[in-house]
Subunit: 314 residues, 2 copies
């Protein structure tokens, strides 16, 4: 049995690509319910421009209104120094920064070369480390670590190079992202082994998408290698606009259900989480990919048909 | 790299629960295309009563019209001696028999106690082994080996007991079925290890459902333990009427895609198989769960947005 830590990203990564605005009240209520389920961390929102991502224009209000529970960290996505100022003011427990290991994906997604991204994120890290209220830990999410939908292969050495540069800036954690669901279990084993050897003292989180059905197989491969931190999105909501066909993050409750069945401990109240997941379609206005919320736990039994009693013992 | 053998069950297990009849011509064309993709085996149809399963009322005609390719075995589901006679007449390469390791599931699904099922299947096995045209190999599919949706746990000893009884009748293979998607990877590892130790000389096939998202994780766990034979259903079609919420077999092309990405060899032409899979929704008249047919191979790249060229090298 291993303690596994989940970071729930539905209200940021999940909602970000939803067409219809989710009301601030609904966001706050959802995050409070997720906190009560026992997540280790919740990526609440993003301090980006309201024009770029209208869905997350209520970042300050959401951060101000959610209930902070002991043991549940809040993290927020921060694209630049201006976002970091807002995030620090909102008393986020962690800043999460993002750039891509693929030059083309970084240009497509962040509209600047990787070097420019890195320079901007370094400033943010320095600001967080000398925040007035005390040092705030920083996590860096590296996109496309298992391949780029436009470039193809991203060499392991390239992932290591960017990880090295951020490790040198004393970040607390790195999230290794399979942004468009290109990772397969053999690759996950190789890369997680290499990362753990080199960055054993950092918090290493794996972020998978289930685009090609391999999401939970990749979680299994990671856990086999000793990885204990994952991003997940309630209902499997999410996806990347620059990766056509990409259908979403791994579903938190499906991944947690599998890990619990295997005897691992996530600290999460799964029946309570399923109740929350079952509300998600009405919040976003459409069906979501998650399967356990529909099929039930493997321990949920069904009554036998009436004729079985008659046939028994024939 | 391991050679993995796939048995495609879409025209039997997949079609069996479809509401609208699939025309015989469409079945024959689909099976011929699947054969040409390089499957090791195809479960073509079932020699059951036309009343019980109207979808498969054309079993003789389908078996008579499909093209037999060298290296592609045909197997057919046979419920009883009458079905076995028809199957042998149709020159099936293998008979596949089915019963459940759960008494309640056997009563619900086959409407008789397990002992009665066993006695009937023993007769079929004896008939196949002294067939006029020569001994025909028999496979037995054991349902609910990872749990019963009505009884709950099915002890490993119970699975072993039924496997032992059929092994004693000299069957060629056993298919260990997760009929309603209750298996998790840790359980798969334990059971496949025990089965391989005891039945190393039999063909052991694993049959998973993706009801709770764990299908490909269970395939991965099986391959890790040395299992090399799997059932799969094109598009992930299928399910069990006595297991509410059960949403289907593992998707053949998604599983094969994962195994190829990991470097394994299935003998299957995956791009050709994806082309077949993309025809499936129009054959059955609805969307199917398979994901690779929608998202494309991990090696299918996408063009970068036009603005990327302008931004590059800034």
């Amino acid at each position: 049995m291993t303690r596994i830590f989940f970071n729930e990203v539905v209200t940021r990564d999940g909602f970000q690509n939803e067409p219809a605005f989710v009301a601030t009240d609904a966001k706050v209520a959802l995050i409070d319910e997720l906190s009560a389920c026992g997540y280790a961390k919740i990526e609440v929102t993003s301090f980006t421009s309201a024009k770029a991502i209208p869905m997350l224009r209520d970042a300050e209000e959401v951060m101000g209104r959610i209930r902070r529970l002991p043991g549940v960290e809040t993290t927020v996505l921060v694209p630049n120094v201006r976002g970091a100022e807002r995030a620090l003011e909102s008393r986020a427990d962690e800043l999460n920064l993002v750039m891509s290991t693929s030059e083309t994906h970084n240009l497509a997604n962040l509209r600047m070369p990787r070097e420019k991204s890195f320079a901007g994120l370094r400033e943010v890290i320095e600001m967080a480390h000398r925040a007035g209220s005390g040092r705030v830990p920083v996590n860096v999410s590296l996109s496309c670590c298992f391949g780029c939908p436009m470039e193809g292969d991203v060499p392991e050495a390239e992932v290591m190079r960017w990880a090295d540069r951020f490790a040198a800036l004393d970040v607390r954690g790195l999230t290794i992202c399979d942004t468009t669901g290109m990772a397969h279990p053999a690759q996950v084993r190789r890369l997680t082994r290499a990362l753990q050897q080199r960055f054993g003292s950092l918090q290493l989180t794996l972020h998978f998408h289930n685009t090609r059905g391999m999401g939970l197989a990749n979680v299994l491969a990671s856990v086999d290698e000793g990885i204990t931190r994952f991003d997940g999105s309630l209902g499997g909501l999410g996806g990347c606009p620059y990766a056509p066909g990409a259908t979403g993050n791994i579903c938190s409750e499906d991944a947690i259900h599998m890990l619990h069945a295997m005897g691992h401990d996530t600290g999460i109240d799964l029946p309570r989480l399923l109740a929350v997941a079952r509300q998600l379609p009405s919040i976003v206005g459409h069906d979501v990919p998650g399967q356990v919320a529909k099929a039930g736990l493997i321990t949920d039994l069904h009554p036998a048909p009436a004729y079985v009693a008659e046939l028994r013992g024939q």
